[in-house]
Symmetry: C2
Subunit: 711 residues, 2 copies
């Protein structure tokens, strides 16, 4: 089967839309349940064929120039017999005029349940397949879902279950259950059709009709041809990244003598003061030394080719430096400088084209331009001052330099440290997918965070993430609400797609964890690094009750977790030692007394930990209340207890602490910070408030659910 | 028209559901476009009536015991002539058996557009009316909206416009635009029907059919009768609240000698140490003085009846104290003590019933039990230590004591101060509506915040809020996801209602500002107190670009505000003084240089302020970046500039500052705090991060939009 060529031929003949029979024929080959249809080239042939028909039938005009047939009266339904048929054919011939090339006949199908499927070709991801409710309500209700092609049966099944109107597929008002296998096969086939036929930019199956007997038929099809960008990434030989990300030698072109006041604010001084472990060559034609280190006038005068050249000269000088890189055999480059295509200005675009050409022809591997580059604490290379130079298990691939500095400065206070951080800006030659592929295999990296505004090869991103995610959780913040989506309008699918649909499909089908801020990146990472996998999403809370307990329940439920009622058994066990008055043996367990009597807290934790109906435990501490009672002594005692024996009581069940504080005097802040440090040091995640707690736990549960094996 | 009595009679005859003709007759009287229908009591009468029919018709079985008629084959559609009719009647008679009381005949209506309307009687709000998409997809798609009855035409119109499938009401696939007036009239009539007939607990109009000519017909109706709680609040004479909330004399029953370590943690010491301005009588039979103030053994020994008695003795002693209140003529009581119905335990429920009886028979006005009571800085009464005793324009009515303490401690740091705060707990006699009514008229109160878990008289809450909201913004945090909603299931409406629907309707139809945390209360209040009303929701941002700019755009858009592109004119004006390299003349204006050259910042602010396409201005400052450059000197300079000349440049346009900080060392924190204080003192709202900024501005815009007169 070589439909790609087939379609290619048709396209070269100048048509932008396949005719009905052409579209149906091809889609049938891909396993779609297209309606039977006969083409009669004229009135006589139609009458001859008529004897074989089972009435009622539908008659349509056939012709490559005929569009919007329904509106033009070129479709006639429910023709009951030969007489009806003849009359309809006459009227169609009159309406169509000289564009008529023949007639299409198909059985008149009945069925109240209409669906739609289709795909659009997204500029980043390629074919993005849609499934949803069809019929008169398609646009109004927008009850649709998307997945990036290719995908398998189980993904197709997820799509079917995801729409709100999925209930129509069950036995429904006297009609049989729909044949889901047919729909699944159609979706998988449509995805394959999109992947194998790059000339097709949009396709619609509308309606996909479920008959009273549950049989599924695709009644109509639209296939739109056009030009599409076909991105194929460079080969996967990424060995050079060993040297680039962990350079043993390093040159900085445009190295400056640090001014005394701005000690940490420039690149060169960061490299020197953070104690870069390799051989460092500052390059500055106007200095013989920088900070006591011998300087060189240019790359060609270096004693050796280096593992990484950092370019930090004004944008107009960058092309010359890149030419030097090529001529001196320095292939690994990080361009720090901004002022290229990101400016949107003519000058910047011109410079970007220039450096792109030099890099390509010279075989340069470029991180940047317009980015912070690399932070690798193991070799002590950083172009900014992070919170800590400690080596940790987290990698961050960030299109934004601001986020790279922000996250490395913020996460440190939670004990989160990094293996490698790469800020790669305009992605001249190296893109997020290159770094992701490398870090997926990097033994030092256990969890990967991404900040992306776009990606060149979405299909590669998809397959990499699928490969990596079960071993290493992947968090993604996607910047730019409207960056994606091919804005076509000739199909329903095209009109319904766009915006965040393709990226939402990406999140759904890969189990990538969606975050939208530095705080969320940190909170979820803290949970994933420190907690064992939970058995499910049912949360038991020990904490303050009343309104605050109600808020806890609302917050946890809204985050997508459950706050189940305690079982009678658990309640009985708690009632053995928790006095009734002023305490509530419910979930949240509201027991101020627990916090002042650590023995009770211990017993409560043990009871909840042994309750098989609870999967996660949260201890919620109202810092102000404890502080006001005794100026914080009790808070630290409680934190120490939780960090030690408390942790034991939880006996392996994931367990976090949520702190509530609204007083702002320094005493209470200090007290909170002391408790935080005690807990974090023991590897117990601590969150500010229940909203952040619930979000982090919900994302963790989602991650493990996607991997499978938990409730 | 006395349908209430009519329905009452039918109910007393033992039926729980009105018959078709009964339901239709009553609803027709309320202006609903019920289908014409004839009842024939037997086969002969049917045949006699038949001569008057216009075919095709629908025939249904009639009988009080007949339900689920479609499923039982008791409805026959599309009967084309007398023959069809006779045949159908025979079959129906056979299927219905002895339950058949007659036949219903109605015209066979055509129309592809089906809607549903109905109401359920909510325990708090009374009739909550639903409108939405009908037909086979009603439950699957849940495309519905709710409003609390009674309401007027404009609210009904909002309902119609709010559902996703509203587009079906326009000209649609060859069918005429629906007669919206008929639908509006039907909704308003249905609401009135609910209000005037308390015996009706649920009603459904399903389907409400829109014909090809746009004419609207209610084809079927279900009216369910039952018992409903009819709350009518006590009269509105709330003069006693003057004394209760601003007491000139005060007794505390159960006053304790403060222990030295816990100076502020008990009620008596708060009252003494915060400097209560009235006459204070501690009551404790075992002490002759408390903290140097003469103590009394009981209420009856006081030299005068007091404006307020605070009861702070263990729960089992409370009934006796209340009896003392009655006998000593002390009618205004705040019961601090917990341990009543909120425990859920038998003992607590029993005590609650006891005190309820004493309060009712003795005419006591009770705040509580189980609450913190009153904070009124003007008379310096507080039972907890708030952040400040300064008098301000904000009132807080909180069912939760925890929230009352949290908010008063938190908001002070933003310069937000209070007129009155009332924590009222279990609402024994006084409920939120009493306090709201009072504060609506209180000249010292300009903005009201509510935390509610429930309300006794929802209709009163609704009408009070409508009356107050245009003069004083009202913020509401509703605790308890599932507290509301009558969980009935005999109608579609009942099955679709419940959960948060009634409360969401409340928010939509009153313009009450929905918040979900102490932080959100504070952030929105800060904007509303300090900013002039904006002209619309279009935001101009001056701040950091790159990924952080992308995040700003995403965040502002997700919050429901607009971030429009700058006009060419504005761009030209900015380009006159902002150099291209490294800056972006777009929205957000990314111009690091602006922050270091205040003259440029000044010109930029002036340009954006004079752009009529921007309604709100945000200056977003990345604290870390400035701090690292010069250890904070520039940050304070910038804050001082914004607080003075910058504010002038904004020339009356609402303008806020958003701070981004991820470094955690004390120097940078101190620098941020200094900037914050400078700005807040000048009345410029300052927020931590763009998410909080965008939320506060969006809620402010929503508020003024609801009041009308802005875009």
């Amino acid at each position: 089967m070589n439909t790609g060529t087939h379609i290619g031929n048709m396209k070269s003949s100048g048509r932008a839309v396949l005719t009905d029979p052409e579209a149906k024929k091809i889609l049938r080959e891909y396993g779609l349940p297209m309606v039977e249809e006969t083409v009669a080239k004229d009135f006589e042939e139609l009458l001859i064929q008529a004897s074989a028909f089972r009435y009622p039938v539908v008659l349509k005009a056939h012709g490559t120039k005929l569009t919007h047939k329904t509106e033009k009266g070129l479709v006639r339904l429910s023709l009951r017999n030969e007489e009806d048929l003849q009359e309809a054919a006459k009227q169609i011939a009159a309406s169509a005029g000289s564009d008529l090339e023949g007639y299409l006949v198909q059985p008149m199908l009945s069925g109240r349940r209409e669906f739609i499927m289709g795909f659009v070709r997204d500029t980043q991801f390629g074919p993005v397949v849609m499934f949803g409710l069809g019929g008169i309500l398609t646009e109004a209700l927008n009850d649709i879902t998307f997945r990036i092609a290719p995908f398998d049966e189980s993904t197709a099944e997820d799509m079917i279950n995801e729409i709100r109107s999925a209930s129509l597929l069950a036995k429904f008002r006297g009609e049989d259950e729909a044949d889901r296998k047919q729909i699944i096969q159609a979706l998988v086939g449509l995805a394959r059709f999109g992947v194998e036929n790059p000339e097709v930019v949009e396709a619609d199956i509308n309606p996909l009709l479920v008959g009273p007997d549950g049989h599924v038929t695709a009644v109509d099809a639209l296939v739109v041809l056009g030009h599409s960008r076909n991105v194929v990434s460079a080969s996967g030989n990424l060995g050079f990244l060993d040297a680039m990300l962990s350079p043993k030698s390093l040159a900085v072109v445009g190295a400056k003598r640090p001014s005394s006041e701005k000690k940490w604010s420039d690149l060169t001084s960061c490299i020197v003061r953070l104690g870069y472990k390799g051989r460092f060559y500052p390059i500055n034609p106007e200095a013989s030394e920088i900070d006591g280190i011998q300087a060189y006038p240019d790359l060609t005068s270096l004693p050796e080719p280096v593992d990484l050249v950092i370019v930090s000269v004004p944008a107009p000088q960058v092309p010359a430096v890149l030419r030097d890189c090529v001529s001196s055999g320095n292939k690994n480059v990080h361009i720090f400088t901004a002022g290229f295509k990101e400016t949107g200005g003519e000058e910047g675009l011109k410079l970007q084209r220039q450096i792109e050409e030099i890099a390509e022809s010279g075989g340069l591997r470029v991180i940047g331009p317009n980015c912070m580059g690399i932070f690798n604490p193991k070799v002590r290379i950083a172009t900014w001052a992070p919170a800590s130079m400690e080596v940790g298990p987290v990698a961050f691939i960030s299109q934004s330099g601001g986020f790279a500095t922000d996250l490395t400065r913020y996460a440190g206070q939670f004990g989160i440290h990094f293996s490698k951080v790469i800020s790669y800006g305009n992605a001249l030659t190296l893109d997020s997918t290159d770094f992701l592929e490398y870090l997926g295999r990097d033994d030092e990296t256990k969890l990967i965070i991404l900040y992306l505004e776009g990606v060149k090869d979405g299909a590669k991103l998809l397959s990499l993430v699928k490969e990596i995610r079960d071993k290493k959780p992947i968090l993604l913040m996607k910047g730019g609400l409207t960056a994606s989506g091919a804005r076509t309008v000739s199909s329903h699918t095209g009109a319904l797609a766009g915006g965040e649909h393709a990226w939402n499909a990406f999140f759904r089908q890969t189990g990538t964890i969606k975050v939208t801020s530095i705080e969320e990146m940190t909170d979820v990472t803290l949970a994933l690094l420190n907690l064992p996998p939970p058995q499910g999403g049912r949360v038991g809370v020990i904490g303050t009750g009343g309104g605050i307990g109600v808020e806890a329940a609302d917050t946890i439920t809204r985050a997508g977790l459950e706050l189940p009622a305690l079982t009678e058994g658990t309640k009985r066990k708690l009632a053995e030692f928790i006095p009734q008055a002023g305490n509530f043996i419910t979930n949240p367990v509201d027991a101020g007394i627990l916090f002042s009597q650590l023995g009770m807290m211990e017993r409560t934790l043990r009871v909840l930990a042994s309750d098989p109906m609870l999967d996660l435990l949260v201890v919620s501490i109202h810092i102000d209340w404890f502080y006001n009672a005794d100026q914080g002594a009790q808070i630290e005692k409680l934190a120490s207890y939780l960090a030690g024996p408390g942790r034991e009581q939880a006996s392996g069940k994931p367990f976090v602490v949520s702190l509530r504080r609204y007083q702002t005097d320094s005493g209470v802040k200090h007290s909170e910070e002391a408790a935080r440090q005690i807990l974090l040091k023991a590897g117990i995640p601590v969150y500010k408030g229940l909203q952040r707690t619930a979000f982090a736990l919900a994302k963790m549960v989602d991650y493990y659910r996607f991997r499978g094996g938990i409730r």
